[in-house]
Every structure is written in C-alpha cells, then in structure tokens.
Symmetry: C2
Subunit: 321 residues, 2 copies
C-alpha cells in the first residue's frame, strides 16, 4: 500500500506541470473541510504572481470561445481556465458540465477546470478565490475566470479579477442594454463578439456613448471587436489586456485591487461561517417556536429573526464583565 | 401643521385603493429601520390572501409585457406588479428605472412598483417578501413579482411565489438551454413568448423533452405559446395559472409552499442581521490586524475568517455558566 501524496507533494507535482495533481488539489478545495483549509493556507503563501482575467457576459455571447482563444494567443506556457457553471438553483447540480465546456475550449492547450456553483452564492464566492489561489501557486499564468454575467453574484465573481473583460454581442436590444449598463462599471475591457453581424458598429457606438456618460478614473475601457469563432480580433484583445496589466502596475491599482479582493473574500468567508450558525438557530427549539408564531401570524418574519438573533448573541449581558 | 398619517391610517387608505398611501408604505419597507419593522408587522397580521405569481426569464424575453397583459386579463379589481430591477453591482443603482418599466406595463391598470436590488442580494431577499406582504394586506390580488431569471438570487426571488411562470423565447441556442435547465425546477408554467418566430415549436419540443426527463411530483408544468406584444395566448396562460392555483389548494401544496417561504424569509433576515455584525468585525481593530496578516501572506483568508468568527462568538467560554 502506498500512502496518498501529501499536500506538499501534490503542490510539488502540480508546480511541475502534473495536471492530475493540480486537479486533485482543486477537488480538495471544492469539497471544503480541513483538507481544503490546509490547501488554501499552503497556496496563499506563494500566490499572487499570476495575472487573473475575468471574462463575463450574457449566455451565448461566446465567452468560452474567446477565453480558449485568449489562452492560446497569450503564448504562455501554462495558462488556466476556470469556467463557472451556472447551477440549478434547487438541486445545486451543474448545468453545462465538463464535456460541453471542454468542447468549447478545445485546442487552447490550457488547463481547464469547470466549477459548479452548487446552488449556493456564498459557496461560490469562497470556492473560486481558493481555486484561483491554487492555480496561481501551482504556476499557472494567466488564469481566466469565466462566468455568465447577469446575476449579481456571477458578475461579482468575474469582477474579482485583475482585469475584467465584458463580452456583448450585436443586436441585444433594449432589455439587454440594461445588462450592458450593469456590467459597465466592472468592465476594464469591452468585447463586441460576433462582430460579423450587421449591427456590430451600433453596439460599439452604444458602448462608447455609455462610456462617455459613465466613465470615471484614468482608465477608459477600450472596445474590441472580435469574431471569436474565426479568431478575428483576439490578438488585439490580448494586447489590450496586457496594456491594462501595465496600467495596473504603473498606477498602483493592482495592489489596491488585490487588497480589496482579499478583504471581500474574508467577508464572504465569515458570512459562510455565519450561515451555518443560522441553520443551527433555525433548527433549534426556539427557532421552531418562533417559526410557529410566524405561521400563526402572531409575529412577522422580521420580528422572529430579531428574537433569534438576540438569542444567538449574548454579547450585551456579558459586556463590561 | 398636520401630523403625518400613522401606519394604521396608511393601511386604511391603501386598502381603500389610495395608491399614494400604498406607495408610502412600500417606501417605508424599502428604507428599512424601525418604521419598516412596524409596517411589516402590521401587514403580516392580515397577509396571505392574495395569489402571488412569479414571472422570470432571460432579459428581453418579454416578461414585462406578459405581466402587464396578465394583470389586465385577470379581470381582478386590484392587481399589482412588483418589478425587480437588476441593479448595478457596484453602485447599487437601479438600471431600468420606473419610467421604462411603466412604458412596458402601460395600460394594464395594475398598481406597479419598481424595486431596485440595491447591489445587495441579501437586501432584496428581505425587501421583496415585505413588499408582497404590504400589497397583500392592502388588498391587491393577484400580485405579480417579475425578475430577470439568470442569477441565482434573481431566480430564487421569482421562485418564492405560489405559482412561478418561466418565460423563454425561440432560438436561444445551446448556451441558453442551460438557463432553461436551471429554471426547469422552479417552473410551474412555461411560456414560449414571441411564438410568431420560426422555431417556437422547436423551443416547445425542447421543453417537453426536458420535462420528460426531469419531471417529478404530480404537477407537470404546461407550456403555453404567447405573442405577448399582440396579446396572443395570454388568456390561455391565465387559465393555466388558475388551474395551478386550484391544484395548490387541492393538494395542500399551497400551505406547504408558503410555510417554506416564511421559513426561508426568517433565515434570510437572520443572515442580513449577521451581515451587519460581519461588517463591524471586519472594521474592528482585530479585523484590521487579521487582514494585515493576510496581506503579508502569513495566513490565508480562510484562517482570518475563522479567527474573526471565533472572536464574534464568545459562546464557548460562556457555556455551562
């Protein structure tokens, strides 16, 4: 019998390019628990070297194709792609699955990992930074994080990158102008994909107009037209990403961004921990009693929550002791 | 000087059909604080009479038009529409705004209220049930809750209804099949809108197939084809909504659903309360110290979160006293 490799050994192998070892570390992180904490701790010590690029946009905008092409165009020895699957909200199952993702990303040469949201916004907010950290510590660079950019959680995940690329397509119409606006503030670079369609120029004009109205700070998001399926415009897009990286370094924004990201992550992790406590409270005797009173329309859910929160935190009586 | 009307007086006026009083109560609920708690408490006492219909689907699917038409078709004296605006994730500002919503809903005769997510998933999960409660207590019925159905938070809000209608359009393509699958489990009724487009039947066939594979329980979601802009299919859709209402009553599912909803709401409210505490912890001296160690790569964000969580809960030392 051979002992399973230690975390140190797995990191050594992963850093040497062993994809199976890297996959194992990512699985450990996904499954949480003590092993996940140890992997995260180890990875954090050496993480922070890789360029992290978020790619987001509406479903069907061509994000996977763009990401795969970018990974190939980067010329990097070990690019990685973390593709976030929107999960079914009830069962927590992944929708797309590895197979489809792989097809879309095929031939990029990148290490590709598909991650499901597992039906829990909080869980994803915690799992993705850890996965990025592991890829980073294992020497992958650049790291692309790809999400569907419509929901708040999904957008915020893609926005937690050094450079955030927002992909739109021509002819979305009014309703999706809304999304463009929602994505405006997180975009460092805009891509109008499927630029061979008739109204690509119109889409660019709309974006320019919005940037004129909403632009702040000393970086104005460039707009790149691509036809990713044919590879058109990808070189230019990669150049803009590198230009943004240089800007981040020169302006000092890189440190500020990463510092804020770490702060957000600690907050998210505390919330996840608290959520476990909430479940305990709700299932407790006093939780059931409070819910019963809500069902009888005696007290509102707000009041029930307040009663249970007060019960959780015996801080006040202890103060001054 | 005249005193502002009391909460009781506002409810009296709102119940009598005074839209301004109703609007005021909803604003109070949105702004939170003590007044919100009092309004919620008062509303909860008499709420639970209205039929609540969630309408969700991709951006541009025609949800607003369908909802407006349904409100008119219902023949109800006082239908209400709660339209949830996806907010910009960074500033928390609403994207669509009342004006556009109003245009889309025009001529439905319904009381229409637009609500912004304010950049905070938790906030919305709490504000929407309270708004529904106020509308219900004020005698509005049916109440439509309309959200963009792509993100998890957004879908779960629309799913927190007696009947959830999921709107799709023909020709979404593979990528958005994913969304259909994500929405499959929350859908009590499917609508294929823009059914005058060529591949409407294909969309219906895809849905039927997915229902064949994934259908559980004793209600199979019917699929209704509509061309909402012309009003086609809306009568049939309303009939299906009423059929589902009857099913909920007969099967006892209505009580089960509402009971689960109240439980979820209490959970959400506790989480929001805890989140405030998290912010306090993060900003405290020990919070800053822990973040500093994360920045120095001494400890991982996970470890920092654990240290701070332990600091929040002095329960263990107090146990047994």
């Amino acid at each position: 019998m051979v002992n399973p490799p230690s975390i140190d050994e797995l990191f050594d192998s992963a850093s040497g390019g062993d994809r199976r070892a890297l996959g194992k570390l990512l699985t450990m992180v996904e499954q949480r628990g003590d092993a996940a904490a140890a992997v995260s701790e180890q990875a954090h010590r050496s993480a922070g070297r890789a360029k992290v690029v978020g790619v987001t946009g509406a479903p069907g905008a061509g994000k996977s194709t763009i990401t795969g092409r970018l990974a190939a165009t980067s010329g990097a020895a070990r690019p990685a792609i973390l593709a976030i699957d929107p999960s079914s909200p009830l069962t927590g199952g992944a929708i797309l699955g590895d197979r489809i993702r792989m097809d879309n990303h095929v031939s990029s040469g990148a290490f590709i990992r598909s991650m499901a949201t597992r039906g829990h916004p909080g869980g994803l907010a915690v799992a993705v930074p850890d996965a990025v950290r592991v890829l980073d510590a294992a020497g992958c660079d650049p790291i692309f994080v790809e999400t569907v950019g419509v929901g708040q959680v999904e957008v915020s995940i893609a926005a937690a990158a050094d450079t955030t690329v927002v992909v739109v397509t021509p002819g979305w119409g009014d309703a999706v102008q809304a999304n463009k606006a929602g994505l405006l503030e997180v975009a460092d670079i805009f891509v109008v994909n499927k630029a061979d369609r008739p109204d690509a120029r119109g889409a660019r004009r709309d974006l320019e107009l919005m940037l004129d109205l909403g632009h702040r700070g000393d970086w104005r998001a460039p707009i790149v037209l691509t036809t990713a399926i044919e590879g058109t415009g990808i070189d230019e897009l990669w150049t803009e990403i590198e230009r943004h990286t240089a800007h981040l370094h020169e302006s000092g924004d890189l440190n500020r961004r990463r510092c804020r990201r770490r702060r957000d992550e600690v907050t998210d992790r505390i919330e996840v921990g608290l959520r476990d406590q909430v479940q305990r409270i709700i299932s407790s005797e006093s939780g059931e009693a409070a819910l019963g009173r809500v069902d009888q329309h005696e007290i509102s859910p707000a009041t029930a929550a307040k009663l249970l929160l007060d019960a959780l935190n015996p801080n006040n009586p202890c103060e001054g002791t």
